[in-house]
Symmetry: C2
Subunit: 246 residues, 2 copies
DNA sequence: ACCCGTCAACTGGTTGGACCAGTTGGCCGG
DNA sequence: CCGGCCAACTGGTCCAACCAGTTGACGGGT
């Protein structure tokens, strides 16, 4: 049992969180004007500067557009927000079921993971390949402890993606592993099948080490699909989230 | 000929840009302490609040870690930054050649595009499929004008990704198409081959419309690989960017 | 010589208020 | 009815003070 550090959210953090959730969950419609900074600061009973910091962060996330003189407008985050928003998408249950989001994240993980494994087998530097073998060993050494195996597994995949030499994949990996609803925090039972497949991990590592491009891609795809398929079967068609938008 | 809106960067935007470039380009080492807010505000000759807003944004991007009482420390962005950072990565030429970054973005585009096409053919709602056919028509209608074709092509891919119902793919698409070095702004000659392949676009649209899952995936992969291969051949091995890190 | 509490001198966090700068929309004169 | 003007918004910037944590050096006790 370990203790989490007590969260000391600053005032502007709280304002940010509230507004973010309000926007993502659709309580503010797209293109709607947010209350003025002065109004918000009165509502939240905080200084205007705190509100401003929050708004700047929301703008950076792609959730609002602030413009001097005019009102701060809410954007359609499906059109303007980047992948970093995934960290914040948990609080939009009514407009976007977590189950769907989880499925999406796992699909993306499988897609990128397989391609990264391919690229890694194709062009990773010798040192990077050695680091991967090493990471698999650490993963295997943690075998009874699921939590530690999960950590080691994440570290292994980071090595593989680093080995692929693709910065975009690496950043996407960061986006997906950060945040509450992250790949690493997927409920244990769902990842167990994948985590316990030590043989597949070993095989993947070997294929990368010896430059078996096609094999590495296939193994990675199979390994990562385990969870995705399980998740898909679990909630079948988790509801249509695709809607018509002009 | 159209005019771009004159950029009226606010003071804090400029501070943000300067610090971002300094960090990404490695002028501040990872784990190094940034100058204090008061110091920075004196250096840039701006108010401390402007510096604070910039720092909050940098923190959100995953470039720095600010902590009350302690110093604001620079993070290793390769480990902590999300995909949204791609928009800012142009100014790190010395530590990360644009050619490499461009290749990476194209690889990711191909990977996600193909999978989105697959998912779209598999589970898109009828309305979404119709919207795609429509988008292809608009794309084909723009035929002589490369710029307009590029726009229409982006719109088409957005429809396909929306049709896949995968929010993560959609957000990643946003991350990749935003920013200066975005997919949409890739130099014309490089995308020309792909853009001119109207037949393949039509085929893809048809396969999605009729639910040919494997076919759609294959067509999309081939279509998106055109550019990637061209780019890869152009600068061959654009230099190793993988380094050992503890 | 070493350990440990204390405290001063940092760090960022928050506040209030004043003023600048750009946008909007209504009002009034032509 | 049109068009310019102006007041009343909006966000942008600044100053100055103080609150709240962290850090490290200093000095007394062991």
């Amino acid at each position: 049992m370990t203790f989490e550090p007590i969260s000391r959210q600053s005032v502007s953090d709280q304002v940010f969180g509230r507004l973010r959730d309000a926007i993502v969950s659709g309580r503010y419609a797209a293109d709607e004007a947010l209350p003025s900074e002065r109004e918000l600061s009165a509502t939240f009973e905080v200084n205007r500067h705190a509100v401003r910091e929050a708004l700047r962060r929301l703008q950076q996330l792609g959730l609002v557009q602030v413009s001097q003189g005019g009102a701060t407008r809410v954007l359609d985050w499906r059109a303007t927000a980047g992948l970093d928003l995934t960290m914040a998408l948990a609080g939009a249950e009514d407009v976007l079921p977590v189950a769907t989001l989880e499925r999406d994240v796992l699909e993306m993980r499988a897609c990128i993971g397989a391609d990264a494994a391919r690229l890694c087998a194709e062009r990773a530097a010798p040192g990077a390949r050695a680091a991967i073998t090493e990471a698999v060993d650490r993963y295997a050494a943690a075998i009874p402890d699921l939590a530690r195996m999960g950590e080691a597994d994440l570290a292994l995949w980071r090595r593989i993606i680093e080995g692929s030499g693709n910065i975009a994949y690496l950043l996407a990996f960061n986006s997906l592993t950060a945040g509450a609803l992250a790949v690493g925090h997927v409920p244990a039972p769902r990842r167990t099948a994948e985590l316990l497949d030590v043989a597949a991990h070993r095989r993947l590592s070997d294929q990368i080490a010896r430059g078996d491009v096609a094999g590495a891609q296939r193994t990675a795809r199979e390994l990562l699909a385990l969870t995705a398929i399980g998740a898909a079967a679990a909630h079948d068609e988790a509801g249509e989230t695709t809607s018509e938008r002009g």
